[in-house]
């Protein structure tokens, strides 16, 4: 069993300021007047070799998709092709300034121009902007576009409807754009049409939806949903976090969505970078095109940035978007092609259903029927009742088998939720090993599971103490008691 083999690396690594020395500040050559000079700067000095060892040790205490399966639901942790990293490190990519003359960035402009077109084809939208730096950033832009659209039509609509299974960023983004959030309960894991009808009104600006939803269920009433939303004069917003389930099979544009964001660091295989940079391009129907951020990218013999768009919202990012992430998505799309992307979707959906099928007769409960797209949610409620094992304990215990945990306690509508998205890049063996571990954990002694992990660099970490201590930098570390 893998459990016996797996042991994460551990180094008793100190903080940099404990490893290096602080040299006295020397202001003799400081050109500023003495009254403006800083008196101390405690950034430690270490030899290069020690710095490399320090960060190499730390990297070995970090688990990435290159280490193993990372099936976080709605996060689409797929393998990131190495060729994209290689190209993104070329000087023609890295050494280019955002204010350079358009004629000297024709390569980057061409890639962005073509990527916008490719994303239009993939989603069925009419125009894209690549400017948002992350999914939530795209959502915010999408909601600002909704505001601009209704305002132009002389309408005051200040409510945005969101399903109770929606990603947390949806309500947060709607709120940042000035909307009141109306949450509707789902029914049997999907949008409750009656509940939706009952809140749709002349005050509704938009309905934000992800399809398939966070349970991995395709909203099969999508055409009715979109017609109801339209009837109310509201817009339909597509959260593209789950695009890996439908690429090449169906398009948000054809479902009736007006505004769409994609997460290029999910579906399009750009790495997550330990939390970013990502990219959250936004696509719109043609009626909304005029609101997109400037500059737009145009072609007239040469490619150029175009700023003369009086209805544009201006900017949502300082420059044009996270170019290396855009580049990686472009590489992924042209390398796989339409045929490859469709196969990726099929394989991703297959893998999720394969895992779900293997969990059917286990202690894990699968709420809301058995058919899923690219991800599914299992509940550990039975294990909690019978053995006191919570979703959190299972997540921690999985690490002892060398696997990353699923997303836990989300969506909020499932108790003790384990949200699993394997992606297409896991082999059958990898899926089998993961399910074997889940089933084995369900039969293990609760005392082992509840105290897990045991084979990681660190054992269970006390997050409550972190909140209580509020130690956020090394100057404050003295307040941390040496050992409990």
């Amino acid at each position: 069993m893998k459990e016996e083999r797996y042991q994460m690396a551990y180094y008793p690594e100190l903080l940099l300021n404990e490893l290096g020395t602080n040299e006295e500040m020397d202001n003799s050559r400081n050109p500023l007047p003495v009254s403006l000079q800083r008196k101390t700067l405690k950034l430690p000095t270490l030899p290069e070799s020690e710095i490399v060892r320090h960060y190499t040790h730390l990297s070995q205490m970090n688990y990435g998709i290159d280490t193993g399966i990372y099936p976080l639901g709605s996060c689409t942790m797929k393998y990131n092709p190495k060729i994209s990293e290689e190209i993104a490190n070329w000087d023609v990519v890295t050494q280019v300034h955002p204010y350079q003359d358009d004629t000297t960035i024709q390569g980057s402009l061409q890639i962005m121009f073509e990527l916008e077109k490719l994303l239009c084809v993939i989603t069925g939208m009419d125009a894209f902007t690549l400017q948002p730096a992350a999914g939530a950033h795209g959502e915010l832009l999408g909601m600002l576009i909704a505001q601009a659209y209704h305002k132009e039509n002389g309408e005051r609509r200040d409510e945005v409807i969101i399903s109770d299974s929606a990603h947390g960023t949806n309500p947060a983004s709607a709120k940042m754009a000035g909307y009141t959030v109306i949450e509707i309960p789902s029914h049997e894991g999907v949008v409750d049409l009656d509940a939706l009808r009952s809140v749709l009104s002349s005050k509704t600006a938009a309905f934000m939806l992800t399809n398939p939803n966070t349970l991995g269920i395709f909203e099969k009433d999508i055409l009715e949903i979109s017609s109801e939303v339209k009837k109310a004069g509201a817009l339909l917003y597509y959260d593209g976090a789950n695009m890996n389930a439908i690429m090449g099979k169906a398009r948000p544009g054809d479902m009736g969505f007006d505004i769409v964001h994609l997460n290029l660091h999910k579906t399009f295989a750009a790495p997550h970078g330990g939390g970013g940079p990502g990219a959250g391009p936004v696509g719109v129907r043609k009626d909304f095109k005029k609101f997109l951020p400037i500059p737009r990218i145009r072609r007239d013999k040469k490619y150029f940035f175009s700023y003369a768009h009086p209805k544009s919202l201006g900017k949502i990012s300082q420059f044009y978007g996270n170019f290396p992430v855009l580049l990686k998505a472009y590489i992924y799309i042209i390398m796989n092609g339409g045929d490859g992307l469709t196969k990726i979707t099929e394989r991703a959906v297959h893998n999720a259903n394969y895992m779900l099928d293997r969990l059917k007769n286990s202690s894990y409960l699968i709420p809301f029927g058995k058919k899923r797209m690219h991800e599914f949610v299992a509940s550990a409620i039975n294990l909690k009742r019978e053995k006191g094992i919570r979703a959190l304990d299972i997540a921690k215990r999985l690490m002892d088998y060398g696997f990353h945990a699923p997303t836990i306690y989300f969506p909020l509508i499932v108790n003790e939720a384990l949200m699993i998205e394997p992606t297409e890049t896991e082999t059958k063996k990898s899926l089998d090993d993961y399910i074997d571990a889940l089933i084995k954990i369900s039969k293990e002694e609760p005392s082992i599971v509840k105290t897990a992990p045991h084979h990681t660099s660190f054992q269970r970490i006390d997050e409550v103490e972190a909140t209580k201590n509020a130690i956020h930098n090394w100057k404050e570390i003295a307040r941390l008691s040496v050992s409990k």
């Binding site: 970090n62 295989a269 090394w474």
Partner: protein, 442 residues
């Protein structure tokens, strides 16, 4: 062979036929034709990208002297080697700390070093860039004070202004601009902070000038939230903003070990004093223990965040620029305090060297104050004409300011760093001299 073109598993392992998975999609919208060209091999992909990207002209081929928040800086090999370790860059946001101690530890060091530079207590692990950081700071000041008026200098970049407006416009906040004085510094003499949520100032400012009125700034903003826009490199020489009353700091961290990348993958620095931490946007790493008493790190104060608090969260931010923060950490570790100070002095000296040459060749300088690695200079000829002529001679000139500051005439914002050697600066100035002479003759 395309790496991602994985075939389906053998038939016997399939649950159903593939189409059965997609029957919930209404027939009417099932995609009939996916209009994306067929896939190509890795080798063909690389060749195609080489062909496209060779149309870009990188710094080495046409060095630029463009000023502003993003600048060319040397990225040491060690930084690249660490940032390119896939244990870091292929990991997700560290929600399971036992599996992610590596990046949590690095990000805690990042927070610590930026805290040391700025004098703030808590630094988040990043916002998207300095423009969105300003938007978040304005919203935060309003949350703290429950007031809606936000004051900015007229002389900040137009990108920051437009992004700021998009962040606050729909939340009933009002932006008020303060004019700048003849010396290029923002005019705070008439500043009235009654009913003001926050005041934003930059030091050094967009024109590159150091603000010397530290006591005055502290006194006039005492009753409101003071947000200081910093340049992390400038802070190696300059007094940290906590010493003149800053509650929040923001800044652009791209220069700390991150490439230009056409202005993408920037690093929005965001920090505050401890008393405001619960109003702060973004992710924070805190120190704690594991079960066996070993010092460990985890994300903390998550009840401020969208995945828990939903519409009541302090921000919608989730994915951020964590890997750029990792780069900045390794960079600061390599330079240390003395190295950073040395680098800052070099930047300042080089900028002054270029300014002196331009003065000799007929440029005028509207502001007489001491500047850091950006400065404003007014060209004796049309600024666009000069930049076009420079481009023919394989140089990118300065940033033309005319669109945003027409009152400054044919002005440029020049940016100079350690990437601009003395020879390079001399060569650049020589080209400008020649261009000016040629035009004079005709």
């Amino acid at each position: 062979m395309a790496t991602q073109n994985l075939s389906m598993p053998p038939k016997k392992n399939r649950l159903n036929n593939i189409e059965a998975f997609f029957t919930d999609i209404p027939k009417k919208i099932l995609l009939k034709k996916f209009d994306i060209p067929k896939g190509i091999s890795e080798m063909e992909t690389k060749n195609k990208l080489k062909h496209i990207l060779k149309k870009n002209i990188p710094f080495d081929e046409a060095p630029s002297f463009l000023g502003g928040s993003v600048k060319p800086h040397y990225v040491p090999a060690v930084v690249k080697a660490i940032v390119n370790r896939s244990e870091f860059f292929t990991s997700y946001t560290p929600y399971q700390p036992e599996f992610s101690q590596g990046i949590l530890h690095v990000l805690f060091e990042y927070q610590s070093m930026i805290a040391e530079l700025t004098g703030m207590d808590t630094i988040n692990i990043s916002t998207y860039d300095s423009a969105t950081a300003l938007g978040e700071a304005a919203l935060m000041s309003s949350r703290i004070t429950k007031k809606n008026r936000f004051i900015i200098p007229a002389n900040i970049s137009w990108e920051k202004k437009t992004v700021l407006r998009n962040y606050v416009n729909n939340l009933g906040m009002e932006i008020q601009e303060l004019r700048y004085q003849d010396d290029g510094l923002v005019d705070i003499s008439e500043l009235n902070t009654k009913d003001v949520a926050g005041v934003y100032i930059e030091n050094p400012n967009f024109f590159g000038i150091f603000d010397t009125r530290l006591d005055e700034i502290r006194e006039t903003t005492e009753n409101t939230i003071l947000i200081v826009g910093i340049n992390p490199l400038g802070l190696a020489l300059m007094r940290p903003p906590n010493e003149y009353g800053a509650d929040i700091i923001i800044g652009e961290g791209q220069g700390l070990g991150n490439h230009l990348n056409l202005g993408g993958s920037l690093l929005g620095i965001f920090g505050c004093k401890k008393n405001h931490v619960r109003m702060m946007p973004g992710k924070i790493v805190g120190a704690t223990h594991d079960k066996n008493g070993k010092r460990a790190y985890c994300m903390t104060l998550q009840t401020r965040e969208q995945h828990i608090r939903r519409e009541k969260a302090t921000s919608n931010i989730c994915s951020n620029e964590a890997l750029c923060a990792v780069g900045a950490t390794v960079y600061l570790a390599l330079l240390g305090g003395l190295g950073l100070q040395e680098l800052a002095i070099t930047n300042m000296e080089r900028a002054n060297h270029l300014a002196a040459l331009l003065k000799k060749y007929g440029f005028s300088f509207p502001f007489k104050k001491q500047f850091f690695n950006d400065f404003v200079a007014i060209s004796p000829i049309n600024s666009k004409k000069l930049n076009d002529a420079l481009l023919k001679r394989k140089f990118q000139g300065g940033l033309i300011l005319k669109n945003w500051f027409p009152e400054l005439g044919e002005s440029f914002l020049f940016g100079v760093t350690e990437m601009h050697s003395i020879e390079l600066i001399n060569g650049f100035a020589e080209e400008i001299h020649e261009i000016l002479q040629t035009i004079e003759k005709t």
